[in-house]
Symmetry: C2
Subunit: 297 residues, 2 copies
C-alpha cells in the first residue's frame, strides 16, 4: 500500500501504474473512496465494494475545511491516521491519498462547483454553503485521481444525490456508486461523529434508527402511510426523547429531493422516496435515513 | 477527419484512439481548441499550435447558450458549418465535435462552475453570469474530451485568465495555452462578430486597435505612462470617434485583473499589465486588448 500526501506524486504514480497495467488495450479500472477519515465499518464496506470492482483502489482521507460552516466542528472533527492506515491495509487498498489542507488549497479557492435546487433542502437548509464545499472538493479529487468509479455511503443520501447530479451535469467520466448504510447491531447508523456522543446521548440516539426502521417495516408490510403521517409519526417519536432536538424530518422523492405532499401515500409515489432526518443530541448533529418504495428502481 | 455530434460516440472514439496509440507506455497528447464556430484566422492559429504540439487535435464548435445574457446575440450569432469544416480539414484537425444544444444540455443544468473575483470586472461587470456559462461549458468539454492541452485566444484575455484560475483551483489535468491575438492587416482584431459591422462601423472600429497599438509602441519605446494617463488617453481617442460607445477601458494586472492605481507607471508594475476595452459600434460589442510590461514573464 502506497501513501501519498502530495498531489504531484500521487498523479505521477497513478499515471505510471495505469500505463503499466494498460494491457491488451484495456485500461485498469480505478475506484475512489473519498472520506474524511476516522474510518469505520461503513467506510470499510465502500472499500470492499471498490476492491471487488477495480484493479486500483484509492482511498482519500481529507477533512475538507470548506464544507464546514464557521460554527461547525472542523477543528474537533476526529482524526486517527494510524488506525485509518491499518484499516486501509486490511481492506486491500492500493493507494491512500491524505493531503494537508495547504496541499489541496495552497491559496483560498476562487472557484466553486455549485449544484442548485437539490442543495437548498434538508442538510443544505441547515448548513449553507456545505454542499458547495463538498462538490468542489469532490471535483478536485476526481480531477486528481481520475477514477472510473467513486463510492459514497447512502447515510449521506443528499450528498450522493448532489454528487450524482454534478457528475451528470458536468459530464464527469465517473460512475457514482451509492452504498447501503451500515448500522451497529442496535441500529445506530455508523458515523465518525458518533464518538462525540456521551453514553446517555448514544442511547437516546437509537430513537432515530428505531423510528425510521419501524416506518420502513410498516410500509414493507403493506401499510398505507402518507408522507404527512410519516413526518408526524417520526417527529412525535423523536420529540418524545428528551435529549433529541430535531433539525428536520423530511419525506422527499429520490434523487430529486422534492417534498412529497402531506396527502401522498408513500407506497403510491412514482419512484423511490427518501425519509431523512437530522437531529441534535447535545452538540452532536446526527443524520439518518431510509429509502422506501424502491420498486421502481 | 471525424465529425461527431454525440458525446457518447466522441468519447468512445477517443478512448479507442488513445489505447491504439498508447505505444511504448506513452499516451498520445490531445489538444482541444474550444470555439463557437464561424472560424477565422485567429481560430486557425490555435489549431496550428495544437497540431504542432499534439498527436490528436480536437476542435469543438458549440454556441453555448448559457454564456449569453437574455438580451445578447445567441440567436443571431453567426454560424457556417460547411465553411468551418473546410477550415478544420485544411488545418489538419483530427476530430470535430459539434453537438446540438440538447446534447450538451439535455435538461437545464443545475450545476455551475463559478470563478469569483476575476469575473466581477471588465466583461464580467457588463455581462453578469457570462463567465459562469463559459467555465461551466469549458469544464464539460474538458470532461468529455480529456485534453492534455487546451488553446485559447488572448483576445478574450479575461476568459483565458478565468479558465486558468479554474484549472488551477479545481486541479484539472489540462495545460492552458493562451495564444496571441490575430489582426487584419489594418489592425482590427479578428472576431466572428466583425461580420455584424457595417462598412462605416468597420472603419470606425479601427480606433480600438489603433489607440491600443499606439500605447503599446509608446511604452515599448521607453515612454513613462501611468495607468491613469493610459485610461484617459484611450478614452479620449475612442470617444473622438462618433460611432463608438465605450463600455469600459481598463488597466489591470494580469492574470489577477486587479486595477492599477491611476498614478502607477505601467512599465514599473511588478508583472504583466492588461489594457483591455469593450466598445459598442451600433449593436455590435467589440473587445480588444494589449498585454504590456511582459518583462517579468
Amino acid at each position: 500500500m502506497k501513501v501519498f500526501r502530495e498531489i504531484g506524486e500521487l498523479k505521477e504514480y497513478l499515471k505510471i501504474e495505469r500505463i503499466k497495467t494498460a494491457k491488451e488495450r484495456k485500461f485498469p479500472k480505478t475506484g475512489l473512496v473519498p472520506t474524511m477519515g476516522y474510518l469505520h465499518e461503513g467506510h470499510a464496506s465502500l472499500l470492499r465494494r471498490a476492491r471487488q470492482e477495480n484493479e486500483i483502489v484509492v482511498l482519500s482521507i481529507f477533512v475538507n475545511p470548506i464544507q464546514f460552516g464557521p460554527n461547525e466542528d472542523f477543528e474537533r472533527y476526529p482524526r486517527d491516521e494510524k488506525r485509518d492506515l491499518e484499516l486501509a491495509e486490511r481492506e486491500g487498498v492500493d493507494v491512500v491519498f491524505m493531503p494537508a489542507v495547504n496541499e489541496m488549497y495552497p491559496r483560498p479557492t476562487l472557484t466553486k462547483i455549485a449544484v442548485g435546487e437539490l442543495t437548498d433542502r434538508l442538510c443544505g437548509a441547515s448548513r449553507p454553503g456545505h454542499f458547495d464545499g463538498v462538490t468542489t472538493v469532490v471535483g478536485k479529487l476526481f480531477h486528481i485521481v481520475q477514477p472510473s468509479s467513486a463510492y459514497f455511503g447512502q447515510k449521506d443520501a443528499q450528498q450522493a444525490a448532489v454528487i450524482a447530479q454534478m457528475v451528470q451535469d458536468l459530464n464527469f467520466d465517473v460512475r457514482i456508486v451509492p452504498c447501503p448504510i451500515v448500522r451497529e447491531s442496535d441500529g445506530l447508523a455508523l458515523s465518525s461523529r458518533n464518538v462525540y456522543l456521551s453514553e446517555e446521548e448514544r442511547k437516546a440516539a437509537l430513537v432515530l434508527s428505531g423510528s425510521l426502521l419501524k416506518l420502513e417495516s410498516d410500509i414493507n408490510a403493506g401499510g398505507r402511510v402518507t408522507a404527512g403521517e410519516a413526518r408526524k409519526g417520526l417527529l412525535e417519536s423523536i420529540q418524545a426523547e428528551p435529549l433529541a432536538v430535531v433539525d428536520y424530518v423530511e419525506v422527499v422523492d429520490f434523487p430529486g429531493l422534492a417534498p412529497l405532499a402531506d396527502s401522498e401515500a408513500i407506497h403510491e409515489a412514482e419512484g423511490p422516496v427518501l425519509v431523512a432526518l437530522a437531529v441534535k443530541f447535545g452538540t452532536t448533529r446526527l443524520i439518518d435515513n431510509v429509502i422506501l418504495n424502491k420498486k421502481g428502481e
